[in-house]
Symmetry: C2
């Protein structure tokens, strides 16, 4: 066990902060609530960006960039929107040494400024759908922050689309939710539940908000991405209109959807263990570390040369590989160090391996000897490593899915709900016919919030665990970040 | 000629704005001085990012992300720095509904906040050099803005490095200048002059600033990237120290260097002509457009199918290709449209080409029949297109270099200087022994500024064109953006 990392079972929050510090993912900055994303953490984010960009492009989107500053009056055009965001705004009041006539808000999200531009760009049905994504920083004044999960400034992508009909916009909202779920499952190895948010939890200004919810290793929920159907709320506020094929002026229907650096937190808390990070191979900045091992000085040059050839073979095969030839550290130290950093595969190469024209493959997701394969022929290094990476990717997903399923429990009444929440935690599935006030009360009494109404559920009809009313609505409650 | 684009000869500034509007590269936003970068313009920026990221990585840098907001007190720690940037700051004074105790500056550049973090990360000589790059938005309150060239908010990368010695830091400053020049020449097809900035023009807080200067089609200069040697100015201000191999505490020496969305403006103004944009193939979002041509309805399906196969072959060869199968536009309209958008190569495919198993290749950089190759065998489509793209890339660079050289003139005295500047414009090369005050006066009298003291010059010793003093210093003056 890495000594400087608190065990998960002892204090999960401290474990999380320890891993972020020791693996050099991020660090607090002198600006309250803002973090510095260090290179290793940023490289995970870059891999997330690349995987999402491919998916956004495949679904017809293009990237663009809109201003950081938004006139305060823009936010006020949509009543619910400004009400939701007003308490969280950072406001620029001085520019170029002078007090501004109209304060500028640092964007907390960009529906308003993008809505304004869309009203200028969209003229006819031929301009629709308009499918644009932006990679950007946004600022929300948060009181309680936690690296990656909740920071004053964060990085994200925000997609904004405009459509000719409500049906098409709603369909697109759901399509992008599917894209997020596909990304989470297949890249981040995080099983997620797709669902609709309650009225109380939905985005300020949306008609309906959807999310993907993931379960962290401590049983808590993390909302990992959201997709909003905005109806014609923003179209009305910003006059986003088009001429249809019959030359009639009609309102557009819009959507917005986002995924942020929070996803890095989800990766850490889904897969990490007491040794530190465990990164899914597809998002790992370093997929394989090669550790050459020599006992005497005369072995050194030969082992290093042999290890370099293995490294080159892996790199040529498109694997993100790094050699650790540090001379002032022991192999044991290096093993622990790279395990703590979550590198999925370690290649060990000593004089005997070299003599046998072989290498040792060690997988991060299985500790000790059990996770090692000895005597892998060197000419198979790339093929076998690639297979192993795929296997680890699948195995991390399987482990997380198993844990999620084992910790999702149907409860039929509020007493059981409270008891299970305290004893087991995890996701509590219930039949739900309560109001927003009921929801608020449950959260106050139990610190569990309504995560979503899952899109897929097999429960059928039943009685609301709180009110006893018959309903076919199912909800998931959990303590959440 | 594209009717909606003002000819360059009539009004270069209007031509520039017309091209940006018609090619849908960017647009003014309702926030004064901020622009919206539209997808086509943003895709050029993404290609710039990719080309630079490869070069930064090859020179040992890693990307990271630092806070948008900087405490006002940080800027004040380096006297020249705050003096230079104070007039241009946007200041957040309200956060979460409350007046802030210490105002936060929206970063105009990040030497201070990064310097603070470096002082925490660097302990010993083993931590050096520290080589980090950031992709970010920055804000400088500009009064006169022009899309891409000068905007209140802009996107850029800023590299920040720390070194054990002054020599190493200076060497790195020059290395990154070389990286920028290599990028400009080989990706953007823009010949540049590497030089050192005058005391008057150098970065606020730097010991020495270097730049690459390019000549636009109207003879004006554009500073296209800068690389600063910061000495130990910021190291002293932020306490960036290390223990050397003899266990002595020493100051670090730092550098910073940046290239911004300004480069998109450089591409437009270097290569564009009266028909619109001409994009260098390596940065073009669309390298090839395929235009299928049919006269009768019964030809349509066949031509489209044939054109799709060509499109697929080009895509498979890694070429960024797009088919224009719009039915409500004539081929002539499409030709003009894509020429205006600067797509380097057009593939024309009609029924006769199909019969002959051939395609027509038309190059953007040579107008009319001269730029067309008929009867290119379809099985050679990818190979020939790739060759053509390389040829166009080289030809754009050659044209720009020829123009730059033809418009660079050595002048020996101030009267000639003024006369040549008014009649010919371009770059004026002079021997220079003047002071900062002389430099300011020249700029006031002629609107030409000292662009740089070129690193490479063959002029030898001569008399300063202003003071008559003997000197071996050579300077380039020009009107500049």
């Amino acid at each position: 066990m890495a000594e400087s990392i608190t065990p998960q079972s002892e204090d999960f929050s401290r474990w999380y902060l320890d891993v972020i510090r020791e693996a050099e993912l991020a660090e607090n900055s002198p600006v309250r609530g803002s973090m510095v994303i260090r290179p290793y953490g940023y490289e995970v984010w870059e891999n997330i960006q690349e995987a999402l960009n491919l998916r956004f492009k495949a679904t017809g989107h293009r990237n663009a960039y809109f201003p950081l500053f938004i006139p305060m009056s823009f936010l006020q055009r949509e009543a619910e929107h400004v009400e939701g965001f007003a308490p969280e705004l950072a406001v620029v009041t001085i520019g170029g040494g002078k007090e501004l006539e109209e304060p500028l808000v640092v964007r907390p999200t960009s529906e308003t400024i993008i809505g304004y531009m869309y009203s200028r760009w969209i003229r006819s049905y031929r301009d629709l759908p308009l499918l644009i994504n932006q990679w950007a920083n946004v600022v929300r004044w948060e009181m309680r922050t936690r690296p990656f999960l909740r920071t004053m400034e964060f990085l994200w992508q925000e997609g904004h689309t405009a459509h000719a009909t409500a049906e098409e916009a709603l369909e697109h909202t759901r399509r992008m939710l599917d894209v997020y779920a596909d990304f989470a499952v297949n890249e981040a190895a995080i099983p997620v539940i797709k669902g609709i948010k309650s009225e109380r939890e939905k985005f300020a200004g949306a008609v309906a908000s959807y999310s993907i919810e993931a379960m962290m290793a401590n049983g808590w929920a993390l909302q990992s991405a959201t997709s909003h159907y905005l109806g014609d709320n923003f179209a009305k506020a910003f006059d986003i209109k088009f001429l249809d094929e019959e030359n009639q002026v009609r309102n557009c229907y819009t959507t917005s959807w986002g995924l942020s650096t929070r996803m890095v937190g989800a990766v850490i808390m889904t897969h990490g263990d007491d040794q530190g990070l465990r990164l899914p191979p597809r998002l790992a900045p370093i997929q394989v570390v090669v550790v050459p091992i020599w006992r005497s000085e005369d072995q050194r040059a030969g082992v290093l040369e042999y290890a370099s050839r293995v490294e080159a073979a892996l790199r040529d095969a498109g694997i993100r590989v790094q050699m650790d030839a540090r001379e002032d550290q022991t192999p044991g130290f290096k093993f622990n160090d790279w395990e703590m950093r979550g590198v999925p595969v370690r290649v060990e190469i000593g004089p005997r391996d070299m003599q046998q024209n072989a290498i040792v493959l060690a997988r991060r997701d299985r500790p000790g000897k059990e996770g090692k394969t000895f005597g892998v022929p060197v000419e198979q290094a790339a093929v076998r490593t690639r297979e192993l990476l795929e296997d680890i990717q699948a195995s991390l997903l399987a482990q997380a899915t198993e844990r999620r399923d084992a910790n999702t429990r149907y409860v039929a009444d509020y007493e059981t709900f409270k008891a299970v929440l305290d004893s087991e935690g995890g996701f509590l599935k219930v039949h739900w016919a309560g109001t927003s006030e009921d929801e608020a009360r449950i959260q106050e009494e139990t610190r569990a919030s309504l995560r979503c109404l899952p899109l897929e559920s097999t429960e059928g009809q039943g009685r609301c665990f709180l009110t006893g009313a018959l309903t076919d609505r199912v909800a998931i409650f959990a303590r959440a970040y």
